[in-house]
């Protein structure tokens, strides 16, 4: 049986889809069988970040409505043998995903994969609650910025109330992934520090992904950032996060401002 992860945040644009692709690829690179599922019906983008946009024939909604079988809709990654994508549909009908349909598809996926990673749409509406419904682990993606932290707090409340685990009286294992972290601005006191966000949200930390041009470069190329340039800072952060999800004890690397005291002073004064 698969472990089911939901990547969520409340706020849009914080890096949910980037994270889904990056963690999915990082887990697949360790040999595990992984499927990433796009729940953003009407505004799908995971296909684009994975570089599979031209290979979408059938989608999640087609499978739910019985127009396609699940294996027909799954897209195999070109780079990693054990990585698959279930794309969302572009339909404008927001009720196209049903609870029963989602239950059935997730049930089938969890029999064939080690990890099912659900990419949640932004917001707290139906799509988002359906994406978190089966979650065993929730990755709460947060930027060190007030509106993102507030929305993450809201999402944590919903994870504790609206998931199958919550209904059964169990809890979802929630982990904080801090993204777009800029160590220079944090050191200058102009960005919330990791400790600030951790204290405010009181969630265990899964990883810190530094702000980096590599993320945009990888998305331009349609390659998950964790495998685009495996030595880049965000790729290493995602790879470590994936290993932590597998239960490995990896020391947390806090991104540091590069350079010595002199260049720091210069930056401060700039």
């Amino acid at each position: 049986m698969a472990k089911i992860i939901t990547v969520t945040s409340g706020k849009g644009g914080v890096g949910k889809t980037t994270t889904t692709a990056a963690i999915g690829a990082a887990l697949a690179r360790t040999g595990d069988k992984v499927v990433v599922v796009d729940f953003d019906v009407g505004l799908r983008n995971l296909d684009l970040i994975m570089g599979a946009e031209r290979r979408v024939v059938y989608d999640f909604v087609n499978v739910i409505q019985g127009d396609a079988r699940l294996p027909q809709a799954l897209i195999k990654d070109k780079r990693l043998e054990s990585l698959f994508l279930l794309p969302a549909s572009q339909t404008r009908d927001k009720d196209a995903l049903t609870e029963e349909g989602v239950d059935r598809v997730i049930g089938m996926l969890s029999q064939h994969f080690d990890w099912v990673i659900c990419d949640s749409p932004a917001g707290i509406e139906r799509g988002a609650t359906l994406a978190m419904r089966h979650a065993e682990i929730a990755i709460v993606v947060t930027n060190p910025e007030v509106s993102s932290v507030r929305d993450s707090d809201r999402i944590v409340g919903i994870l504790d109330a609206k998931t199958l685990r919550a209904e059964r009286g169990e809890t979802v294992d929630k982990r904080l992934l801090l993204t777009r972290y800029d160590p220079v601005r944090a050191a200058r006191g102009d960005m919330l520090k990791t400790e600030d966000v951790l204290e405010i949200l009181s969630l265990p930390l899964l990883g810190i992904v530094p702000e980096s041009p590599d993320v945009l470069k990888a998305s331009n190329m349609g390659v998950p950032v964790s495998i685009h340039d495996p030595n880049s800072a965000p790729a290493r952060a995602y790879h470590d996060a994936a290993l932590r999800l597998k239960g490995e004890n990896i020391a947390m690397e806090t991104p540091r401002a590069r350079g010595g005291l002199f260049s720091k002073l210069l930056r401060r004064a700039a």
Partner: protein, 90 residues
Amino acid sequence: MTLWKRLFSHGSAPQARERLQILLSHERQVLGGDDLLSRLREDILAVVARHVPCEQDNVKVRLERGTPMSILEIEVEVRGEVNLAISRAA
């Protein structure tokens, strides 16, 4: 900003932190998934939906707190026209 101020200011992050702490301690009470308002909302939805078509997003429950009196405002949107005779029989 002068070089001196730049070097010795504490930045804006402490303000962000303080504002968030105050805001979230308030919102957790009001918006938490298991608070009075969301329970009321779900109970009202369950009763209304037995008789007329009604969905989760169509039930709004607001509480205006005040002294000496608070106002609990409940607004239920129902799709289409409601036929009173049928509703009563159902």
